[in-house]
Each structure stands twice: as C-alpha cells, then as structure tokens.
C-alpha cells in the first residue's frame, strides 16, 4: 500500500515559478494543495503529469493553462483565461470565472460551478467547457471544435463566427452572434449532453431540454476537397 502525502505549497512563501516547478517535479499520483493564493496568476500552469491539485482560495489569470494531464480544482473564484490552451485533464472552479474561460482549449474538461463572464470558450479547439450558471457576451466566439455547455443563460452574441464547435444552453439565449443558428437536438446531442452533465455534476440540467447552437456555415468554406491552399 502506498501512503500518499499531500504536497502543500504556500503562495506567501513561494514565487509562482517555484510553485509550478515543484508541481512539475512531483510524481504522478501526487496530491498537492496550493494555499493562500490571494488572486495569484499562472498557478498550476504547464503541468504534464497526473496530479491532483487543489487551489485553496481565489486565484488570478491563466489557472491551469497549458496543462496536459492534471486534475485541478479551485476552491474559490478565478480571473481571466482559466485553462487557456488546456490539452487534457480537468479543471474545476467552485466559484465564478472571469473572461475567456477555457480559451483555445484543445482537450480536457473545464467545469465552472458558478457563472463565467464574457467570451467563455473563445476559440475553443476541441476541449469541453461546462458552466453551471450563466455565461457573458460573445461566448463561443470563433470556437473551432469542442463543446460548450451552459447550465444557465447565455449573454449577447452567443457563438459569433462559430466553426465546428457546438454550444448547448439550458436557459435563455440573449442573442446569437453572426453566423450562429439554433438547431434541433438529435439523439447524439442528447447523449453527449447527458454524458457531460454527469461528468460535470450538473443536476439542474435536463439533457433533453437544452438549446443547441451551431454554425450556419455561411462565413467559411467547409469543402476540404475543393482546390484550396492554406
């Protein structure tokens, strides 16, 4: 039997680089706790190992950004660009997240138990962003691939210039952005939402009663077989 001892990292004593270096050096399976974050930016960034990291309080920008593997939980609220460019792993925020949550995430799951501000899931590239509450304006802007689930309401211009990403909203949509449209739910959609609701722990979302928003495909050309040069 392996005894798991908790790695405790105190923001009052350590620089952000020291904290992230200590996390990177930790063995897979390590349980780490970052205490006294007080809005510190760039915590738990760029980790490629399989850790469980808890941030014990409110954190700043880019929490969990560029990670490829760990499970990060924030017991508080976070600033801009939570999980920016996430590759794999999970990030869970017990409170609210500011702007650009899950920006450009290629993979992994970002769960926000409170609200997310504007531009949630901007430029999403294959990751999943699940918000229990509301999201602000321009959420899903230019999202290329992946899934956004909104348990509450969505602000103005949802899904503006969407590519292949899909947005599901349990509440109301204030307005759609350019080239976004409502689509009928298919069985595949319902199954995907049900799975996501379970993973996120969103008891309040009924997978059969969400609204689907996807690209109307008028702003870009989908035909990969056409004679195009990129």
């Amino acid at each position: 039997m392996v005894t798991v001892s908790e790695l405790v990292l105190d923001c009052r004593e350590l620089s952000t680089s020291e904290i992230n270096r200590a996390l990177r050096a930790a063995a897979d399976g390590t349980v780490a706790r970052i205490v006294q974050p007080r809005g510190r930016h760039n915590l738990a960034v760029g980790l490629q190992n399989r850790l469980t990291v808890t941030i014990d309080g409110n954190a700043g920008y880019f929490v969990g950004g560029l990670c490829d593997g760990p499970d990060v939980t924030v017991d508080g609220f976070v600033g801009w660009s939570l999980g920016e460019n996430l590759m794999s792993g999970t990030i869970r925020v017990r409170g609210n997240a500011s702007e650009c949550a899950g920006a450009s995430a290629h993979g992994g799951l970002v769960v926000i138990e409170g609200d997310a501000s504007s531009r949630a899931g901007i430029s999403l590239k294959g990751g999943t962003v699940a918000v229990a509450g509301d999201v602000g304006h321009m959420s899903g802007f230019m999202a290329q691939a992946g899934t956004i689930l909104v348990g509450g309401d969505a602000g103005e211009s949802l899904g503006d210039s969407l590519y292949e990403a899909v947005v599901y909203v349990a509440g109301k949509v204030r307005s759609l952005g350019a080239d976004a449209r409502f689509e009928d739910l298919t069985d595949v959609d319902v199954a995907a939402v049900r799975e996501l609701v379970e993973a996120a722990g969103f008891d309040h979302v009924d997978a059969e009663r969400v609204t689907k928003v996807a690209s109307a495909r008028q702003l870009y050309n989908f035909d990969a077989l056409k004679d195009q040069r990129y």
């Binding site: 007080r38 809005g39 930016h41 409110n58 920008y61 702007e99 501000s117 504007s118 321009m138």
Partner: protein, 291 residues
C-alpha cells in the same frame, strides 16, 4: 495595459490607513503599468473656505514659501520633495492664473490631493510617502503607455476640475475628434494623451451640472474605444466599462468600503476581503457610490 485601483471608505474606521492600504494595491498592479504611477486622495483637512492646489516643480527647484507669499493673504504651503500642496482662501481662477512658469498644477479642490510621476509603483509610493497618507477615498493608476509619451504630464490621474480625478485603462479611438470639438468650445489641453481628452470631457459635463453617473453616461455615448474608467470627486466614486468589457475590473464591497482594481490580486490583502461581495461590472454598467 494599465492598472487601476481605488478605495471609497463608507465609515471613518480605515481613514488613517488609506495610503497604507493603497500602496500594496498599486504595487500588485505595477506589472500592468511600470512606466508611471499616480494617486489622488481625498481628505477634508482644511477649513471649508480654503482650496488645496497640488503643485509640482517642472524642472528647476521651486522656492515654495516664496510662491505661497505671492498667492495672497492666508496662503500656506506643505512641501514634499519636488511637490507641494498650496492651501489658500483665494478663488480658483485667481490662483490658477497666478501659478508661475515651471510649476504644474496636478489637481485642485477642497479635498483632493494628487501626486503622479514617472516610475514604478514602489518608486513613486516611496518618493511621495503615499503609505502615510490618510483620507476617505483614493484612486490610483499604474501606467503602461500605448498612445502617448511617458512623462509626468501624460500620467494619471488627470484632475482637470475641482476635486475631480480620472484614471483610465484602455485606449480611445476617437479622441482626436472630441479633442477638436472641445478645443473649439475653449477647452485647453496640456498633453496629446487620449485619456486627458476624456478627463476634460467629464470635467466639462460636471461643470454643466451633471453628477459623475450622468457624466460617464455621456462618455459611453460619445467615446469609442476600450476603456475601464474610475472617476472620483468630492462626494462620488464611479466606475464604468466599455461595451465589450475589453479591460478588466473587479469590485469588492463590504459595509466599511468599496475597493476596485483591475485585478483581484490587488484586493486580496485588504482587511475583511473574505466577507466582501466581489463582482465584475458588466459592459456599459455604471456603478456610482456617493457619500
């Protein structure tokens, strides 16, 4: 980028600690604006018939006592390094007209005192002893210049009217048009800074009788660009963000104070912050606190 901080005290308990609370806030946002730092603090420490003028020497040393002697009966001066606060019973237009060349007025009114300078938060805070300053509210700025030169004149706060102070994070795109319009109406500018245009626009709105809330509504109607603004006068403390909320702002409110900052990291050490209601203003959403 730039950093904005402010505290508006609702009760007198923390007034003696205002500067002590604001220096670490400015320090936390020094990375957002390492070029220049400035602060406007408000305190009523002179009789009601006196005005305070925050003055700065523009180059050569200024003999502040001699300057005070030339400012009429009853004028006194409080000196701190290359800056001074002139306290006088004379009317504002008379004082402003009598300020000699080589001295710059960076703010004036019954309660306001302004210091601003080139340098990062730690340097400027130390140079002007900001940590020792008391007051009932204050607004501060750490500047990363994007639109105009790095000089003391170009730094924030801009304080172009009685007890008015204005700090801005962002950039206005139609400031030249509005500058020309205001210039035709007789408004004079000290710099080519875009924020100065908006500050003088607000000052003009206030002179016409608007409160800060209505003045900022006019900014929303008139100005194009990116902005989070924090504006204060003797009785009010107000914030607004542009239509896209391009620039950040976090507000923390407790029964004792309202504190605002570009980033929560500047608020995390304030007393009672764990019990504060923390929120981000929505786009075009005005928040005004009055005394």
């Amino acid at each position: 980028m730039c950093g904005i901080v402010g505290i508006h005290l609702k009760t007198p308990g923390l007034e003696s600690r205002l500067g002590e609370l604001m220096v670490p806030m400015l320090g936390a946002l020094a990375v957002r604006g390492p070029d220049s730092t400035g602060i406007a603090v408000y305190r009523r420490d002179v009789p009601a018939d006196r005005l305070k003028f925050s003055l700065q020497a523009q180059g050569d040393r200024v003999d502040w006592d001699t300057l005070a002697d030339h400012m009429g009966e009853g004028a006194t001066v409080r000196v701190a390094g290359d800056s001074a606060v002139l306290v006088t019973p004379s009317a504002a237009p008379d004082v402003l007209a009598a300020i000699p060349p080589g001295v710059r007025v960076v703010g004036w009114g019954r309660a306001i005192e302004v210091v601003k300078d080139v340098g990062d938060a730690a340097t400027v805070s130390e140079r002007y002893g900001i940590a020792e300053v008391a007051g009932y509210q204050g607004i501060g700025h750490t500047r990363m210049a994007t639109e105009s030169a790095v000089t003391t004149e170009h730094s924030h706060p801009f304080a172009p009217g009685a007890d008015l102070a204005f700090v801005h994070n962002g950039s206005f795109s139609n400031h030249a048009t509005i500058r020309r319009r205001l210039a035709l109406e007789g408004v004079r500018f000290e710099t080519d800074n875009d924020s100065e245009v908006a500050a003088r626009f607000v000052a003009r709105q206030v002179e016409e009788g608007k409160d800060l809330g209505d003045a900022l509504r006019m900014v929303l109607k008139t100005f194009d660009g990116f902005f989070t603004l924090l504006v204060a006068n003797e009785d009010q403390f107000a914030v607004v963000r542009d239509s896209f909320a391009c620039k950040p702002l976090v507000v923390a409110e407790t029964p004792e104070y309202v504190a605002v900052a570009s980033e929560y990291v500047a608020l995390g050490d304030l007393p009672g912050i764990a019990r504060a209601r923390v929120f981000e203003p929505m786009p075009e959403e005005l928040h005004v606190w009055s005394r």
